[in-house]
């Protein structure tokens, strides 16, 4: 049940977590609504993870600079190439016009250049010829025949461009490659650190945290960090270089045009910020409504029989329709608003284009720029537009990464379990007799509230201790203390006279075999599951343990027998069979002491008999702590610990507790009427 609950919670958290469903259309913005609480601190921590890669990062930056610089130079060279075409065009046009006006048969003297001709033209005619073309005309040698296009020059620029673009692509690719590798490495490191951390955290942490939370940090959050890191680092580097480089190129062409670009381009940033801000609230509403709607669907499908049995169909559907309509309303507004980005930025881009074309044309006529420059400039405007419109996006992506990273770092910063004592006493399970002494044990899960107030008991080797109490009385608390999943607040628990806190945790745990109701088996073969506590176990030992646990019979009936692979949650065998496997697992580990949880629910009666018999065999000759449900176990116990609200309220034998007439007696008497109470210590048990 708790599993299902946790999965559900993690799912719904996924569903609610914004940014999960990012729009993918071009020019649209990642609508992150997930914000880190401490952006700066988180970023600093993230940089720690980047530190080992500083050499690589420098290389990435160098490659990025290389690739971007070539991208920036490209338009300029392409402009030069165009200029050459224009020059050739202008020159041939001028030559054709001039020679057409010459009388037939007249030949210009050798060495007559356009310069000479221009000097002869009257001033008012001269002003009609645009200044940037005057230079071209001046160079023409009219005596040498019709001017030729500078095809060699064009070809050489073109070749340069081809080489440059190719190199730029290689650089760009190398940079992305390095980044991809680095990000994967960081993702891997983060996950590895989380796994290590899991082993160092006290169980207290996990008992207070749905495991779906931790799971989602390992998978979703780390993924989000990785993906967004890749995107944002690359974008930030190239954007900065791009903006600086493009502005430099622009200024080198014309300060007037640059001024126009600098005024117009940021408009798109303002516009995009405006749109993002507006649509974000709708996105948030959309995500919330979606979570609400999905919640309703989940709930109604899970409770389908109840809904139908109580004729709840119409109510369910009408609530669904209401939520569905609300979702539709938020959804289309959010999508539509963020879809406005593209037309707006495009419009502003075109505005810049027109502005540059008009002003550039005017400047060209007055001779300060030429056509190729204008064309180059137009491309620069769009190159400048890109990083600036993306700024809003980058900010968002960084926020998403920071929010996810923060959750990961929060986990990694949780307080770890106290380290084992430096000079731990050495214990060998074989040497342990099984004395367990509780001396004035005080314990509580919460700082202010002790639930075990002052508990003392001496357990002799081979004794059987029954832990009883109503549901929720905290019977697992004792298990937690014995296994040192939690430590006592004061007092002590000693094993054969040694305080368990003076031992290494691993050594304490080696002394106990544990069989809980919550059978944990992993996705692997039955053989490996049984051998979990004894890695080097031989097949014979495994079979012997399974036989002793009455599990051999059903295992052999399974397809594949001992080699059958258990599915996820071991859902391909029955609950009772799982329990038998965990008993076999404890058998094989052969510990000197035991902690058992008697099975009650969801096991059919015949398997229950088998489990009981296997447990009895396991307990033989071992000090055993049993979370008891069966009357027979309770009455046969050497010591009964009665728990209520987490506290051990009474302890003693069945007889002495009845005689004391306390909580145990009332529990017992209210269950069996007076005549029923049996004073014989050895009850005849059919089950055994």
């Amino acid at each position: 049940m708790t599993d299902a609950k946790n999965i559900k919670q993690s799912q719904s958290r996924q569903a609610v977590r914004p940014g999960m469903m990012r729009p993918m259309g071009g020019g649209r913005v990642a609508m992150g609504t997930d914000r880190a609480k401490h952006f700066g601190r988180t970023m600093k921590q993230l940089l720690q993870y980047l530190r080992p890669f500083w050499v690589r990062l420098i290389v990435v930056v160098v490659f990025a600079i290389g690739s971007t610089v070539f991208t920036i130079i490209g338009p300029r060279l392409l402009g030069d190439m165009t200029n050459k075409v224009v020059d050739g065009y202008v020159a041939t046009q001028a030559y054709d016009k001039l020679t057409a006006q010459l009388p037939k048969g007249v030949k210009l003297p050798a060495g007559t250049t356009g310069k000479v001709l221009l000097q002869k033209i009257p001033a008012n005619e001269l002003s009609k010829i645009p200044s940037d073309q005057r230079g071209a005309i001046a160079k023409i040698d009219f005596s040498a025949g019709r001017p030729k296009y500078d095809f060699a020059g064009i070809a050489s620029i073109a070749t340069w461009l081809l080489v440059m673009f190719a190199v730029s692509a290689v650089f760009g690719y190398a940079q992305s490659w390095l980044m991809a590798d680095m990000v994967q490495q960081i993702t891997y490191n983060l996950r590895r650190d989380i796994a290590k951390k899991i082993n160092k955290l006290p169980l207290r942490y996990f008992d207070n945290q749905p495991f779906g939370e931790v799971l989602s940090r390992v998978t979703n959050d780390v993924d989000t960090v990785g993906q967004n890191l890749n995107q944002s680092i690359t974008q930030i580097i190239t954007s900065v270089i791009m903006i600086i480089g493009v502005l430099a190129m622009m200024l080198s062409i014309s300060w007037q045009l640059t001024l126009i670009a600098v005024i117009i381009v940021p408009l798109s940033l303002i516009a995009s910020l405006f749109v993002v801000k507006r649509s974000q609230s709708y996105y948030m509403n959309q995500q919330n409504t979606l979570a609400e709607l999905n919640g309703h669907i989940e709930e109604m499908f899970s409770g389908h029989t109840v809904m139908r049995a109580f004729n709840g169909e119409n109510r369910s559907i009408s609530r669904f329709k209401k939520l569905n309509y609300k979702l539709f309303n938020n959804s289309w507004r959010a999508t539509f608003l963020s879809g406005l980005m593209m037309p707006i930025t495009q419009f502003i881009g075109n505005l810049g284009f027109v502005g540059v074309a008009v002003t550039g044309g005017w400047l060209a006529i007055h001779g300060s720029v030429n056509l190729g420059d204008i064309l180059a400039f137009i491309q620069y405007v769009s190159l400048l537009n890109q990083p600036i419109t993306q700024a809003a996006n980058i900010a968002n992506v960084l926020q998403l990464a920071a929010a996810a990273a923060e959750r990961v770092f929060e986990f990694l910063a949780e307080t770890e379990e106290l380290a084992d004592p430096a000079q731990a006493a050495a214990v060998q399970p074989a040497d342990i007799k099984g004395h367990v002494d509780f001396e004035h044990v005080v314990f509580g899960y919460n700082p202010g509230k002790n639930i075990i107030k002052d508990f003392t008991a001496n357990v002799k080797p081979g004794m059987r201790i029954a832990i009883v109490g109503p549901t929720g009385a905290g019977k697992t608390t004792l298990v937690n203390l014995l296994m040192r999943f939690y430590d006592v607040k004061s007092g002590s628990i000693t094993i054969d006279g040694t305080d368990t806190r003076d031992l290494r945790r691993a050594d304490v745990r080696r002394l106990f075999g544990m069989v809980l109701q919550d059978t944990w088996l992993f996705n692997g073969t039955i053989k490996d599951n049984i051998a979990y506590g004894k890695e080097d176990a031989t097949m014979d030992e495994i079979v012997a343990a399974a036989t002793a646990a009455h599990a051999d019979g059903f295992i052999r009936a399974l397809p594949g027998g001992y080699d059958m692979v258990l599915g996820e949650d071991a859902d391909n065998i029955a609950q009772g069979e799982k329990q038998l496997l965990t008993i076999a697992r404890a058998m094989l580990a052969n510990p000197p002491m035991l902690i058992l949880d008697e099975a009650t629910s969801s096991v059919d009666t015949r398997t229950e008999v088998l489990i009981q018999a296997a447990m009895d065999k396991l307990m033989h000759g071992r000090t055993s702590f049993v979370i008891a449900h069966r009357l027979s176990t309770i009455r046969g116990a050497d010591l009964i610990l009665v728990m209520e609200n987490g506290n051990i309220v009474e302890s003693g034998t069945h007889q002495s507790l009845l005689a004391a007439n306390g909580f145990y007696a009332s529990l017992y008497n209210s269950q069996f009427n007076g005549a029923m109470v049996d004073d014989e210590p050895n009850v005849q048990l059919v089950a055994n």
């Binding site: 569903a15 389908h304 139908r308 691993a506 979990y532």
Partner: protein, 591 residues
């Protein structure tokens, strides 16, 4: 697919408008390069400021118009996509709400949830993108090529070549990458599984000192994922630079080749530049079209999954001619030689079951897990229909009753206590929304729930979280029982619904229940013998067959299966004592 197309019909007029707008948008986009070429040819080269200004203004106008079209496209396409998704979601949900357990089992609950949530969402996203972006592709591609052809037919080969190269690169990339994507998904699942086991098994792992082993297992999964992910990302890293390279090379090639065209007076300078723009637009259009090929398979899978749900007709529906229940047999439940097998199963779960439960009597069902108790009981509210034989309620075959009428007679407390989001009160009166607070309180009282409700912050107004996760298992069960009581049915069905209660509560509850249900028909499924020891009729099931029927004492003598079950739970003395005193409530001191 046809099932899903039906919901698109209302959007056809919108689609027509959308196509017109897309046409307009494309026209505006394609018009810009020709204005630019005019500015270059007639304005800059020919030194005419007026032309520059005039054409500049025209360009602005076209841009503005194009922007308006684009906003229109965005508006209509999002309305279509979200509206369609809304209809689809509603259709799926209402269909599933009418499903019986037969259909539920064939899909599984989790799968039905994803089908009505994620799959619909997926379709909405893909449809939106196709309408908003991909639809423009063909228009713009064809338009750009036609205009380029008009300018210089001799140079269109450059565009063709670029598109062919692009196609092959993308094709190669995706053939290599696609299987890896699937592999990545598998490895992510694997990592999830390992982590889940790691976290759920912490106690056992620590108990057996296997922390290092688990860490190693995790590391392997982590490493595998990293390896494949690195490969995929390196592969994807090629896409962007390659695309840029091709576009740049195309520009260079056009200007270069264009230079010769200009020199031989085939083209003007401005036209060369316009040609470059058309080439870029054609490539962009092509990329938009190729997006369909990436998106469509994703949506197709979702569409198919939704289609399966919509194509499944509920098997259990109202009869064409419902019959009236017989008044003289009100409250009786009769099984007449009932057999039942799950669809597709060879072996029946229930075979030849016959019994009658009368008003004022308690009928109990016992048997080991898998003996068919819960299945048997779920035949009464028609969660399933019998394979053979008849189930009669009020003397009428349940298949001849209207489902609403049948459900109004039967109150059902499920094995897994189910609560819905809302308050304590709304949950108790879920079956009878018009019940007043007194009824609610009374029901809670009988169900032994009033004590814990009184301790809650808001008492009857306390919030219940989704799935009732904020109350304990025992409290959930009591609220489920209270809900049945508030419903006041003629027939009570308790499907093992006392299991999470501690024994004192269990005993008190059964005492109170006895008075409350006096004169009604009560059917109880139980694991514990003590729960049903006083039943008027105990039906003992073993592997789907009735192996004994009668009272506790008789069954102890006559039915070996019953004796076996009883003996495994109670000692011989207790059995006798209980039988004689009739007061044994539970052999288990602490559950």
């Amino acid at each position: 697919m046809r099932k899903l197309a039906r919901f698109f019909v209302p959007y056809i007029p919108y689609l027509v408008i959308l196509l017109a707008l897309v046409y307009g948008q494309t026209w505006a986009t394609l018009a810009l390069p020709s204005y630019m070429s005019d500015i270059v040819n007639k304005g800059i080269v020919a030194q005419n400021n007026n032309i520059i200004l005039q054409d500049g203004l025209k360009m602005l106008g076209v841009t503005l118009l194009g922007g308006v079209f684009m906003i229109g496209v965005s508006y209509i396409s999002t309305r279509i996509a979200t509206g369609y998704a809304r209809r689809l979601r509603e259709a799926v949900f209402t269909r599933v709400e009418m499903f019986s357990l037969v259909e539920f089992n064939s899909f599984s609950n989790a799968s039905l949830i994803t089908r009505s949530t994620n799959d619909v969402q997926q379709i909405q996203q893909v449809l939106g993108m196709i309408l908003r972006i991909a639809l423009i592709g063909p228009f713009m591609g064809v338009g750009a090529i036609i205009r380029a052809w008009d300018l210089a037919p001799s140079m269109t080969w450059i565009m063709a070549l670029a598109i062919v190269i692009l196609t092959s690169i993308i094709a190669v990339l995706f053939t290599v990458a696609l299987p890896r994507f699937k592999q990545v998904q598998k490895l992510v699942d694997r990592l999830n599984l390992v982590t889940r086991e790691f976290l759920t098994g912490l106690r056992v792992i620590r108990a057996f000192n296997r922390e290092d082993h688990e860490e190693k297992k995790f590391d392997e999964a982590n490493m595998d994922l990293r390896r494949v992910n690195t490969f995929v990302n390196r592969l994807l890293a090629t896409l962007q630079p390659t695309l840029m390279l091709i576009m740049n090379l195309v520009s260079v090639a056009i200007v270069w080749v264009g230079a010769y065209a200009v020199s031989s007076n085939v083209m003007q300078v401005g036209n060369v530049l316009a040609f470059v723009q058309y080439a870029m637009q054609a490539i962009a259009a092509f990329l938009m079209i190729s997006m369909i090929f990436v998106l469509a398979p994703r949506a197709a899978v979702s569409a198919q999954r939704i289609g399966e749900v919509l194509g499944t007709e509920p098997l259990i529906v109202d009869p064409d001619e419902p019959q009236k229940p017989k008044a003289d047999l009100a409250g009786t439940v009769t099984f007449k030689d009932v057999s039942f097998a799950y669809s597709g199963a060879d072996k029946p779960v229930l075979e030849h079951i016959s019994f009658t439960a009368k008003p004022g009597e308690t009928t109990a069902f016992v048997g080991s897990t898998g003996s068919g108790k819960s299945t048997l009981i779920s035949l009464i509210p028609r969660f399933y229909d019998v394979t053979y034989g008849q189930v009669l309620v009020d003397g009428v075959d349940v298949r001849q009753l209207r489902l609403k009428d049948l459900h109004a007679k039967v109150g059902y407390a499920p094995q897994h206590a189910t609560l819905f989001t809302g308050t304590v009160e709304s949950n108790i009166k879920y079956g009878k929304p018009k019940a007043d607070l007194n009824d609610v309180r009374h029901a809670a009282n009988v169900a032994q729930a009033s004590d814990f409700i009184a301790k809650l912050d808001g008492q009857y107004d306390s919030d219940i979280a989704q799935g009732g996760t904020n109350v304990s298992g025992g409290q959930r069960q009591r609220l489920n029982i209270a809900r049945v009581l508030a419903y006041k049915p003629e027939i009570y069905i308790f499907d093992d619904s006392f299991s999470a209660l501690d024994f004192t509560t269990d005993a008190k509850l059964r005492q109170a229940l006895k008075q409350e249900t006096a004169g009604k028909t009560v059917l109880i499924v139980a694991q514990r013998i003590s729960t049903i020891i006083q039943a008027d009729n105990i039906v003992v099931l073993d592997e789907g067959k009735v192996v004994g029927q009668g009272k506790h004492d008789e069954l102890l003598k006559s039915c070996s299966v019953y004796r076996e079950i009883a003996e495994s739970q109670l000692s011989a003395k207790e059995l006798q004592a209980a039988a004689s005193s009739g007061q044994l409530t539970s052999p288990e001191l602490a559950l």
